[in-house]
């Protein structure tokens, strides 16, 4: 029945099989070792598909750049970078670049690591030659005070404008509730001749959250763009390391994002499971997959609606959100919540999928398949809509590769890269799906990738509902041993999410690093903006489906307004510091 139903929707007689899944493949690591055997001092496996290679800091950029630029491995990616204050363990700092290979070539993550003596903290910049490392290196300068030599843009990234220099919050000797006062300053790029600054943000109707794109404009054309974000940085990692247990981090990880929370909690759980070697029961894997795909559906529908709204096509906006409502309702029936499902826990899931609710999923899938297809046909035949999307915000493949962009942004620019297929997690290894890739690299290509993914998601859901096995939904595990590490990876609706966890003592995480998809995508925005007009700017930003709080790792809280009284900025800061101490 399921097959017949997709057949008439897609006009094919029988659904073609999707792509092959990648399998764990050590070959790439062996080639790295062979090439640099004199420079590598240690190789250790940390999880089934993860290895760490230790080298000294002089050679660190050489190895990283070889993997990313010279090796010729398919779709190499700088997946994340983690710097850790390991002084309480071994008296050193460590810096690790986590690299991966994609395009179904093999499931492997390699961390290239160097240890730094605490009194002489510096590394050579990779960002000098590979743009994708830019933000990572700026972040470790901010948070751990590791000096990155020859960095092309050593300005502040994460910390607020008024954060004092020489205070590094992610060092272990900094307590999570400290908030040192400082002076406000940020060196924006200066305006050139005949350029006008159009401040797109921090507050703008077309931005869902605070972010500041400073557009340098001549007439209507954007000549350059400067970005200042992380207004929503709340230091979730520091809180996780400082005062939460493994289980609690799971929920705060989910609250990293208001839209794709489950991918974050899944990635965190996987990281702990990978580190500690916990085997998740198959039924739990399926339930995770179902929740993740439901989340992807609602996120993609939301983004499609926003894209319509930004070009003034409100018919599409309203319809997309109406269709999305089916998904929200389904999520509520399955998990009890429209959003932030709270389903994930280390070792499995917290709620079982009841038999009779399978029917609900199938009904919703059917509705989406018909109604969304209809909407897409209407939208794409609306000339003004398509004209606004076509040829706008072009990101060529080479630039996309250089910035290590991921998700629909990367796939819209021809990067054949999807974590679900290239590093199968949860139940994706058992399921059949295709990874849509477009070559044009414009806003339209990204929209088309997302549209195709909506239909792939419904297909994945159908299979998952059909094939879900019986059994436990949570694995039992004993105490998690300290100082093990692992990364968890998921394909969020926006791209690759990588969470790194190093386990610690007393049921606490020693180091937690959450890297959201948008973290790799946002640095590419200036390249997409240049040459377009200010009318396109909101559309370009929306086309990467940015998630600022993901990137900046926050939770959003309601602030109850107090009595009306005008405070100077300094007073306000002092008050906030006092208030946060109390918490």
């Amino acid at each position: 029945m399921v097959e017949a139903h997709t057949a008439d929707l897609h006009g094919e007689t029988k659904r073609k099989h999707g792509d092959e899944k990648a399998v764990v493949n050590r070959e790439y690591l062996d080639r790295l070792i062979e090439r640099f055997k004199d420079l590598i001092s240690e190789v250790k496996q940390v999880a089934y598909n993860q290895w760490v290679v230790v080298t000294d800091r002089e050679n660190l950029p050489k190895l990283v750049l070889w993997w990313l630029e010279e090796s010729g491995f398919p779709e190499t990616q700088l997946s994340t970078m983690v710097a850790t204050d390991e002084r309480p363990i071994n008296g050193k700092f460590s810096v690790t670049y986590w690299l991966s290979v994609n395009a179904k070539a093999g499931d492997i993550y390699v961390g290239i690591r160097s240890y730094l003596p605490p009194n002489d903290l510096w590394i050579h910049s990779v960002a000098e030659k590979h743009g994708g490392a830019n933000w990572y290196e700026r972040e470790i300068m901010d948070l751990l005070g590791i000096d990155v030599k020859n960095h092309p843009d050593p300005r502040k990234l994460v910390l607020p404008d008024d954060w004092p220099s020489c205070v590094y919050p992610l060092r272990k000797d900094f307590t999570y509730y400290d908030s040192p006062p400082g002076e406000k300053f940020y060196p924006y790029r200066k305006t050139g001749e005949k350029e006008v600054v159009v401040p797109y943000g921090p507050y703008h109707v077309a931005l869902e959250e605070a972010a500041h794109f400073r557009l340098y404009v001549k007439g209507e054309t954007i000549v350059d763009c400067d970005y200042r974000g992380f207004y929503a940085h709340r230091g979730i990692e520091k809180i996780s390391e400082g005062r939460l247990t493994y289980e609690q981090v799971c929920y705060i990880a989910e609250r990293i994002c208001g839209i794709c929370g489950t991918t974050h909690s899944t990635a965190y759980c996987e990281a702990v499971e990978n580190a500690a070697g916990i085997e998740v029961p198959e039924r739990a894997e399926y339930i995770r997959t179902i929740m993740l795909e439901i989340e992807r559906l609602h996120s993609h529908l939301l983004n499609f609606g926003i894209a319509c709204h930004l070009v003034g096509y409100d018919y599409g906006f309203m319809q997309a959100w109406r269709i999305r409502e089916h998904v929200m309702w389904l999520a509520e029936r399955l998990s009890g919540n429209r959003k932030t499902y709270g389903m994930l826990t280390i070792g499995g899931v917290r709620r079982d999928l009841l038999e009779y609710r399978k029917q609900l999923v199938q009904e919703v899938i059917h509705k989406i398949n018909t109604e969304f297809r209809e909407l897409v046909d209407k939208a794409l035949s609306t000339r003004t809509f398509e004209k606004r999307l076509e040829g706008v915000g072009v990101l060529p493949y080479k630039v996309a590769k250089a910035w290590d962009v991921d998700g629909p942004l990367g796939r819209g620019s021809g990067r054949d890269f999807d974590v679900r297929r290239d590093h199968p997690y949860a139940a994706y290894k058992y399921l059949d799906f295709k990874v849509p890739v477009q070559k044009e690299g414009d806003v339209l290509a990204r929209a088309l990738v997302r549209i195709d993914e909506v239909f792939e998601s419904t297909w994945i859901l159908e299979q998952a509902i059909d094939e879900i096995p019986n059994g436990d939904i949570i694995a039992e595990y004993r105490e998690i041993p300290p100082y093990l590490e692992g990364i968890g990876m998921t394909e969020a609706p926006r791209g690759e999410n990588i969470h790194y966890v190093m386990t610690g003592e007393n049921n606490r995480v020693y180091r937690y690093r959450a890297r959201a998809a948008t973290y790799n995508n946002l640095p590419a925005v200036p390249d997409m903006m240049r040459g377009n007009t200010i009318a396109d700017a909101p559309l370009i930003v929306a086309s990467i489906d940015p998630c600022y709080s993901c990137t900046e790792r926050v939770q959003i809280v309601d602030v109850r307004s107090g009595k009306a009284k005008v405070l100077t900025e300094e007073e306000f800061n002092r008050l906030s510091i006092k208030a946060s101490r109390r918490v």
């Binding site: 159009v198 209507e220 930004l310 003034g312 018919y315 309203m318 109406r322 609306t382 003004t384 009318a535």
Partner: protein, 306 residues
């Protein structure tokens, strides 16, 4: 005499107090098309009365900033007064067509001026866009009216409306005129000067309270004036043939027909608005230039007497 008073009152009501209701209808239609609840048809009255009862924030102490909304309001209303309401024209004289064009342009210019008077890049960008639109659409409006004037040999709006016949050039002129009216009304896809999601309502970004309310009201009036002119140009050569609108009854029927067409055209533009996206300013200018080229051809045809 009493008739004239009644017609004057009706004209003022149509020009000043009907536009919010038409906007309400338009919002309702959009809501139905987008399958949502939508506000009541009287919502725009509430919005305006809310705004008008509020103090305005003053981002600048320039006088022009305060005057601009009133100028726009007065200009839009005045432009409406040279149009025919049934048999009655509140202010009629030869050459009032130029007065109409100029006075209507004043309301656009007030809008533009409002944008340039504040130090806000979004307001300036909006004002720039408004200027580009005016410069590209006014010639088309001029050509369309020129075609009519050439055809009828009259320079007054009522003269044009009553003497038009349905020659090929006039029909083409009407198509041009419809396009120009729709663009001038700043309906989507031509609302680039405001473009909420791009430049935050452009010149209106710094306005609030009473001044903002007046501006909004003026823009609604301007739309009604333009569509009223269009429906007059459309109705007099067609319906005017069938009924004798110089009699009191005929005049009343004509007025009702004009009203009906006004609502119909407003509703049609709501449908277009609900189902298209906004264009970019470059695309608008390119398209207007193309239409202008077509307009020249139409003018040539008209001058040959077809």
């Amino acid at each position: 005499m009493i008739e004239k008073v009644i017609y004057s009152v009706v004209a003022i009501i149509i020009l000043a107090f009907l536009p919010p209701f038409l906007d309400g209808i338009s919002r309702r239609i959009k809501a139905i098309l987008q399958e949502r609840q939508g506000p009541s048809v009287f919502q725009t009255y509430s919005d305006l009365s809310n705004l008008l009862s509020m103090e305005s924030n003053m981002p600048t102490d320039r006088l022009g900033f305060v005057i601009a909304p009133y100028v726009a309001f007065a200009a839009a209303l005045t432009a409406g007064l040279v149009l025919p309401f049934g048999d009655f024209v509140p202010i009629a004289f030869t050459g009032d067509i130029f007065v109409f064009l100029y006075v209507l342009a004043i309301s656009s210019i007030a809008f533009m001026m409002a944008g340039f008077l504040v130090e806000n890049t979004y307001a300036n960008a909006g004002a720039n866009r408004e200027m580009m639109i005016i410069l590209s659409i006014e010639p088309i409006l001029g050509i369309a009216l020129g075609v009519f004037a050439l055809h009828t040999g009259s320079l007054s709006i009522s003269g044009i409306a009553t003497n038009l016949s349905l020659a090929p050039s006039v029909l083409l002129g009407m198509a041009l005129f419809a396009y120009a009216v729709y663009t001038e009304c700043a309906f989507i896809p031509f609302d680039v000067a405001e473009a909420e999601t791009e430049i935050l309502e452009g010149p209106l970004v710094e306005y609030s309270g009473r001044l903002f309310g007046i501006f909004k009201w003026a823009m609604l009036i301007k739309r009604v004036v333009l569509i009223w002119l269009f429906s007059a140009v459309l109705l007099f050569p067609t319906l005017g043939r069938v009924i004798d609108f110089t009699t009191p009854l005929g005049s009343a029927v004509m007025l009702l027909a004009q009203l009906f067409m006004l609502v119909v055209f407003y509703a049609m533009s709501a449908v277009i608005e609900a189902t298209t996206g906004r264009m970019k300013i470059i695309q608008v200018i390119r398209q207007n230039t193309l239409v202008f080229g077509v307009g020249i051809v139409v003018l040539a045809i008209a001058s040959m007497g077809w």
